[in-house]
Structure formats: C-alpha cells, structure tokens
C-alpha cells in the first residue's frame, strides 16, 4: 500500500452525493406520485424534526453540551418568519436566512455565558431562555406577535416573487432539509469533526494539539442554531399559525428521545429516530396521559445507554463484513522529513503547589538535533517540568525560551502553535477516529480551514486535507503502522497507541518534541522500533526531550542527560558520565543499571 493510497481513503467518492441527490429528488417529487395530504404533512414534520435533532446532536453529540434552548431558537425562527411574511416582505429564502441568523444570535445569548462552565450551567441557562418565551410574548404588544393566543394569518410562502403552491412548498422543505444534512455531514466528517472528537477526550488533549476548546464549542453551538432557526421558519409557513404552547419542554423531550434512538453523533440515522418518535407521538394522542410517563422513562433508560443508537448498530453490523487488517510491519519504512528544531532553554524555572516545591529552580538547555533525557525517581518533577514547558501548568518563577520565543506565560494552545508537540504517560487517543485521522489531528491547527470551506468542500479544503493526510500517512509509514491506517485508533493495543501518539506529535512538524515515558509498557521489539524512530527524528533536526525510567533506553538514545531529584537538577552530562556518577547510582540507578529495563545497544549517530 502506497502512502498516496492510504491518504486518499474511500474509493468511489461520488457515490454518496449521487445517492443523496437521488433520494432527495424522489422524495421531493412524491406529491405528483400521488401522496395524500396526510402523508405529505407527515413527511414535512419528519423533515422539521430531523432539522431539530441534527441541531441538538451538534451540541450534545459533537460538542458534548446539552442545549435546552432549542424551543427558544425555534420560536425565534417561527415568529420572525410569521412577522416578516405577513407584515413586511414575504419571501421564503429571505425568511430562512434571517431566521437562521436570529437563531444564532439567540443561541449565543445563552451560550456565551453558559459554555465556559458547561454541563448543568449551560443547560439551565438555555432552559431559562425557554421560560422567557411566554413572558416575552406578553410583553410584546398583541398586535405585533399575537400574544398568548398565537400568531394567525401567516400568508402562503412566496419565493423570488412567485407564490408557492402546496407541492412546491413541500419540495422546498425536502430540498432544504437534504441540503442542510449534506452540509451537516460535510461539517462533521472533516478535520473540524475530528477536532470535536478530540474535544470529547477531555480538557488536556485539545489545547496541547493547539485547538481551543471554547472556540470549537462556540462554533459548533452557533452552527447548531442554524437548522433550528430554519426549522422554525418552515414550521411557521407550514402551519401558518404559531402558538406558544408548542414551544416548551415537550419539544425538547421529543427531540431528545429521537436523538437517543438515532444515536450520539449520528447523521442519516436521525431520520429513523424521528420517524419512530413521530409514530409514537401519533399513537399517543390516543393515550395521551401515559405518553409523558413513557418518554420520561425512556430518557432515564436512554440517558444511561446514550451511545451509538441505530447508527452505532448499523456501523457494528457493517464492520462485520469488512475485513480487519492486523498486520504490523516493522518501523523505519518511510523517510523522515526535515524538522527545524530550536534550542529549548529553561532558566531557573520553579513551580510550587502551596508550600511544596515540585520544581525548584531548574535550568537546562536542550539543543536542536539532540535527544535530551530527563531522568529521576518518581516525584522528582519530570512530568511537572514537561507540563510547565507545554503550558499545561504555569511556572511560579523563571523563564522558558524556545529559540528566541518566550514560552513562559503562554497557555498550552499558544505553546502548541509555537511548534511544541508532546505525548502523554497514558496515551490520549480520541474515540471514533481511524489511526490515520488520529495522527492527522496533530496537524489540524497548522492549516486552519474555515467552517464554510469545510461544509462546501472548497478546493482549498480538499488540498489542505489531502496534504495533511499524506503527511499523516508518511509518519504512519515511519512508525510502521501503515497496515492499520483505517482501523479505529482507540481500540489498538497500548504499544500501538503509544506509536500513534508519537506519530501524531511528529505530524505537527514540531520543533520541540516532548515524550513522557513513551517506552513504558512496550515490549522489547517495540522499544527497539521506538529507538530507531527517535534517532531518525533527532537526525532530522528536531529537539527531543525524553522523560524516561528505562535507563538502558536513555543510554542508547540520549545525547545529554539531566538528572532531577526532589525537583532540582542533581547533575547533567552525557549518558556514560551519568551512569558512573556515584550519587546517581546510589540514589536510584542501583548497582545494576540496565537490569530494570530492556538492554539496548549504545546509540550510534548516523
């Protein structure tokens, strides 16, 4: 398998758009094929609910935050369209666009204060907004929005000056829904969607890849408002009547139930979820009192098991029929591109927690094109030092310089963008990404693509994504993981996940690479491979800092060793000197250095 073929991914890329176009064309033409009013209405309602569920899925499934403000955004779209079309200017396209914009504004109103804290805070903040709908309708004069009794007299829609007949409006609803789902699919099946999966992994990984959690969430949140506002607008035109009763808690519950059935981060399965809920809802007019009990109970069960839903089930079935590659080729196949390293200088860096000095006045110099090992017993401040360099923690005093750049006070995102990449003691691999995409995630911040470009699959988007995937494929070849490029990354064995993390860090073209116990848990062969890769990386010019317990590996790899003890530098020098340093021997190497780890040949420089 060549690097190109790994990077390109799926064969027959035209199949999906063509299929979607066909489905849309068939469904949009149904009235002429003889659907009665009942079924036409059912399909319109399915489309509207699907728009709502996709909005909720973006915020809950992809951004991981429950947005209860859905009825508020829906109401804004509906009322704006009602008002504009009956009193100002009746044009469907204008109303759709303005409703989407208004929904974004309202969504952000509750989202901006709530998103930073997230969780319950966001849920309640947006929920309060829903409580303001009836109040607002009473504050605004009845002559404008119709007050509590609802808005009547919405005209039939017009589009570019032409009145739309029943069938034409139906077709518009179907086409708009299909179009949105295409955009939604493009938005999430992209580096943008990948970075949202990175986000789900927790608070540390995203910033260390240079991705801003808050910005990502806010963008997703704004995007999630669009289909909700659009659905509100279409709803007003469809019913030609908007009543406040339909805009409450019940709407959230129905949407939530449909989403749980469809599955977290689902796309097409949303339609299945919506159809199921609509069927139940049509039934429940017969035993109305019980429906809320059932929906409540379903949320309890579904909330506990919220996961793949229908979409996950389909994926699992599909996976059974696709052969799984497990072969593991040896490392060293690919060529390593040049990495422009920069010297890292720590100048009397200190970190105190309360009164404890975790790191006390550490000064060190890590040169470009060299591997600097940081060794020391547990609790000697190695990982803290790495965290201080990568910006995850702020030093209490001292200076950190990368080349000429001062990293001392920079947050992790900025540090990552300066070309610092790292791995973690426990490999941080986001779920649902393939090995290739997990590695390419290291590059997302290097070439930002606008969300609009992403959704429209612009030429720039295609070029950037192709280049990123090629780079990722090249690094996969270097670490010997090409055969598993298309497999789910999080399900790999520990050793493989360490290699994926290493490849991801390298894929960012770092000038400084920080490795936190990258060899722990690897077997002998894997350690050999790792050593080969790291030598290549060093020779390519990168600055490498290696925190390691395996002294044999350190001896074989490092050009320079810094020994930490109780937060301070005990001594430093080349590996051979360190190995004979009496205090180091006594403090933690013991007499039999190399016994604890895998014995490796001493390093050779190419």
């Amino acid at each position: 398998m060549s690097i190109q073929s790994i990077a390109t991914g799926r064969a027959r890329p035209w199949l999906l758009p063509a299929g979607w176009l066909l489905v849309t064309a068939v469904v949009a033409n149904q009235p002429s094929l003889g659907l009665d009013a009942f079924w036409t209405r059912q399909i319109v309602l399915v489309c509207l609910s699907a728009l709502l569920v996709s909005g909720l899925n973006l915020s809950l499934g992809w951004a991981g935050e429950l947005n209860m403000g859905l009825p508020a955004m829906y109401a804004v779209g509906a009322y704006l369209t009602a008002y504009l079309s009956s009193k100002v200017f009746n044009d469907l396209a204008v109303c759709l666009v303005l409703s989407a914009v208004a929904a974004i504004v309202v969504g952000l109103l509750a989202g901006v204060p709530g998103l930073r804290l997230g969780g319950w805070m966001l849920a309640v903040c947006t929920f309060l907004l829903v409580g303001l709908i009836p109040v607002t309708l009473q504050v605004i004069p009845t002559s404008i929005l119709g007050g509590q009794s609802g808005f009547v007299g919405i005209p039939r829609p017009r589009l570019f000056g032409h009145p739309l007949r029943e069938e034409a409006f139906y077709a518009v609803v179907v086409v708009v829904t299909a179009l949105w789902f295409a955009l939604y699919r493009n938005a999430v099946k992209s580096p943008f969607g990948d970075s949202l999966l990175v986000l789900q992994h927790g608070p540390v990984l995203a910033p260390s890849l240079g991705l801003s959690r808050y910005r990502l969430k806010l963008t997703t949140y704004a995007l999630a408002s669009v289909p909700i506002g659009v659905a509100g607008s279409l709803f007003a035109y469809n019913d030609r009547f908007v009543a406040p009763e339909s805009l409450g808690l019940h709407l959230i519950l129905l949407t939530l139930v449909a989403l749980i059935i469809a599955g977290r981060r689902s796309i097409y399965a949303i339609f299945v979820g919506v159809v199921v809920v609509q069927y139940l809802n049509n039934l429940s007019t017969e035993f109305d009192e019980w429906s809320d009990v059932a929906f409540g109970a379903f949320l309890v069960i579904g909330g506990l098991a919220f996961g793949g839903g229908i979409a996950g089930l389909a994926r699992r079935v599909a996976r059974r029929f696709i052969p799984v590659a497990t072969a593991h080729a040896g490392a060293g196949a690919g060529a390593v591109p040049d990495l422009s390293g920069a010297d890292l200088r720590l100048d009397a860096v200190r970190k105190t927690f309360g009164g404890v000095h975790a790191v006390a006045d550490v000064s060190l110099l890590a040169r470009a094109g060299q591997i600097t090992a940081l060794i020391g017993p547990n609790g000697s401040g190695k990982t803290t030092t790495l965290n201080l360099i990568s910006g995850l923690q702020r030093p209490t005093a001292g200076r950190i310089l990368l080349g000429d750049r001062d990293l001392t006070r920079l947050p992790a995102i900025q540090v990552a963008r300066c070309g610092v990449a790292r791995t973690f003691q426990t490999p941080a691999i986001p779920i649902e990404l393939t090995v290739l995409d997990a590695v390419a995630a290291g590059r997302i911040q290097r070439r930002p693509i606008s969300l609009l470009s992403t959704m429209l699959r612009s030429p720039k988007y295609r070029r950037v994504v192709r280049e990123n995937r090629e780079a990722a494929a090249q690094w996969l070849a270097v670490v010997g993981l090409s055969p598993v490029a298309g497999e789910p990354a999080a399900a790999m064995a520990l050793g493989t996940r360490r290699m994926i993390e290493l490849a991801r860090a390298l894929c960012a073209d770092p000038s400084l690479l920080l490795l936190d116990e990258v060899a722990s848990g690897l077997d002998r062969d894997e350690v050999e491979e790792l050593a080969t890769v790291l030598r290549k990386v060093r020779d390519a010019g990168a600055t490498v800092i290696l925190v390691e317990h395996n002294f044999s590996l350190v001896r074989s790899l490092a050009d320079h060793v810094v020994v930490l003890a109780e937060g301070a530098v005990l001594t430093d020098g080349d590996p051979r000197t360190i190995a004979e340093h009496p205090e180091v021997l006594e403090r933690f190497l013991g007499t039999g250095a190399g016994v604890s780890g895998t014995t490796l040949q001493e390093g050779r420089r190419a």
Partner: protein, 285 residues
C-alpha cells in the same frame, strides 16, 4: 412595598428549599438531582389527598415524607445508580425521571391547578404589609432546615463521609466508605425533605403539577448564586433572588421578574461562577 417584600421572601424561600435539596445530593452523591423539584411538588399533591382523608397535619406530613422518600430512592436506583462515570448523562436521566414523576402526578390528580389548604389562612398585618401565615412558615422553613442540614453535614459521620466524598470520591472509597449507600442515604434524606416541605410550598402557590419545572430552574439559579455545596449560600441567595424578582415585578412590570432571574444567572456565570459562598472545589462539569 412591604407586601412585595414578604411575597419576594416567600418565593425566595421556595427557591431555597429547592437549592438545599440539590446541595444535599451534590455533596453526598456527587450528582445534581433535577427530579427533586418534581418530587417536592408530588409531596404537595399527596398532602392534597391526605387532607381529603381527614388526617391530622403531622400525620399528613409523615405520609408525604414517607412516600417521597421511596420515590427519591427510586430515582437514585433508576437514574443514578448505573450512570457511566464522566459525561453529563445525569442531565438526561434526572430530567427524564422528573418528567415521569410529573406525568404520574398529572395522571393521578389531573393537569389543572387546585387549592391546597393545610390550616386556616387569615392575612395578618405585619411591619406595614399584609402576609398570610403560611408565607411566614415558608420563610422560616429554609432557615430551620438550612441550619439543620448544615449541622448534619458538619456533625455526623454521614456528613463527614459526604464531605470526604465530595473532596475525593476515589480516596473515600479506598477508606472503606460505601459511597453507594451514601448516595442512597442522600436521596432518602432529600426525599423526606421534599415530602415535608412540599405541602407548604403548594399551599402558597396553588397546586399545579407544572410548577416543578419553574422552581427547578430558579432553584438552580439560587444554587449557582449561593455557591455549589453551600447551604448558607442557598439560604442567602434564595431570599436575594426572591426579593429581586418581586421588586423588579413591582417597579418595572409584572412580566419582568423572569427576565431579572435570567439576568442574575448570566451575571453569576460571567462574574462569579463559584457563587457567593462557594468554593471552587465542587464543580459541576
């Protein structure tokens, strides 16, 4: 003016009663039980039936407390016990449990608001305003229970383990504390609490099943304003929010009370996310 102050204090008291309940499960079980407000309203409705049977007041309250305890423990078993760690699943499950409880309430007692009377209510003049005795009871309740629960948390083994759990759940488990029982205990306590105070709340507001969602949300605002985990904060913040809402409604217009609650919440989120009395340690994320 004084009348509005009394009205504000008594609605504020209701919000505090909700926030106090949230706080107990939050510290002892590490979860926010959104269904608590629905349980409290259910308690009030049970009192409605119990008065119909002609029971004396203490027995009515006992009945409410007993049934609500069972319901609350049921919520813990169904919606909390099997929660996956991390994530916001409790948001959905307790919302679902609350929906189900309210739906059952509607099934039994009907959707329309009813009047609940536990004892004679003659408005009395006090400090230049008029107030019904129940509202005075309502204002006293959070103070009494706030102090009571504060003592429970500070002075008992249950409280000690709860605080330990809130500080570090894993370490507490390793010390041999059964955090599962802690969780059940917390839900039982809040259930009993909901049953005891629910009737007084519904006397003041009129018994409507849909009340739950409103007080659930405003109770949460009080929780955030007072600071997560702080019973003292909940008492102060509750009265404060009730007063703000009532006075805004008096001075600006009856519909603006709800806006003021939203504005207060947004300000808390932006300016003081840890609340008035909260520590940064207990976080809802």
């Amino acid at each position: 003016m004084s009348t509005a102050v009394f009205a504000g204090l008594s609605t504020g008291a209701i919000y505090t009663l909700i926030a106090i309940g949230y706080n107990v499960t939050l510290t002892s079980a590490g979860v926010l039980n959104f269904a608590y407000a629905n349980t409290l309203v259910l308690g009030g409705f049970i009192a409605l039936s119990a008065t119909g049977w002609g029971l004396p007041l203490p027995l009515i309250l006992l009945t409410c407390a007993a049934i609500c305890t069972l319901v609350s423990v049921g919520v813990e078993r169904a919606a909390i016990r099997f929660l996956p760690s991390g994530g916001h699943a409790e948001l959905i499950t307790t919302l679902g449990a609350g929906t189900a409880i309210t739906a059952v309430t509607v099934l039994i007692w009907g959707p329309d608001p009813q009047r609940l009377a536990l004892y004679e209510q003659h408005p009395i003049d006090l400090l230049g305003g008029r107030v019904v005795p129940n509202n005075l009871v309502l204002i006293a309740l959070p103070v009494v229970f706030g102090v009571g629960l504060h003592l429970l948390i500070r002075g008992t083994r249950f409280g000690l383990t709860s605080r330990a759990q809130a500080f570090d759940r894993e370490a507490t488990m390793l010390r041999g504390v059964n955090v599962r029982w802690l969780s059940i205990g917390a839900f039982a306590i809040t259930g009993a609490f909901a049953g005891l105070v629910g009737p007084f709340v519904l006397v003041s507001t009129a018994a409507s099943p849909w009340l739950a969602i409103t007080i659930a949300l405003k109770g949460f605002v009080v929780l955030a304003l007072g600071g997560l985990g702080s019973q003292l904060g909940a008492v102060v913040a509750g009265f404060l929010l009730g007063l703000v809402e009532s006075l805004v409604a008096l001075w600006i217009g009856p519909f603006y009370g709800d806006y003021s609650v939203f504005v207060v919440f947004v300000l808390v989120l932006l300016l003081r996310p840890q609340g008035l009395f909260g520590s940064r340690r207990l976080r809802l994320v």
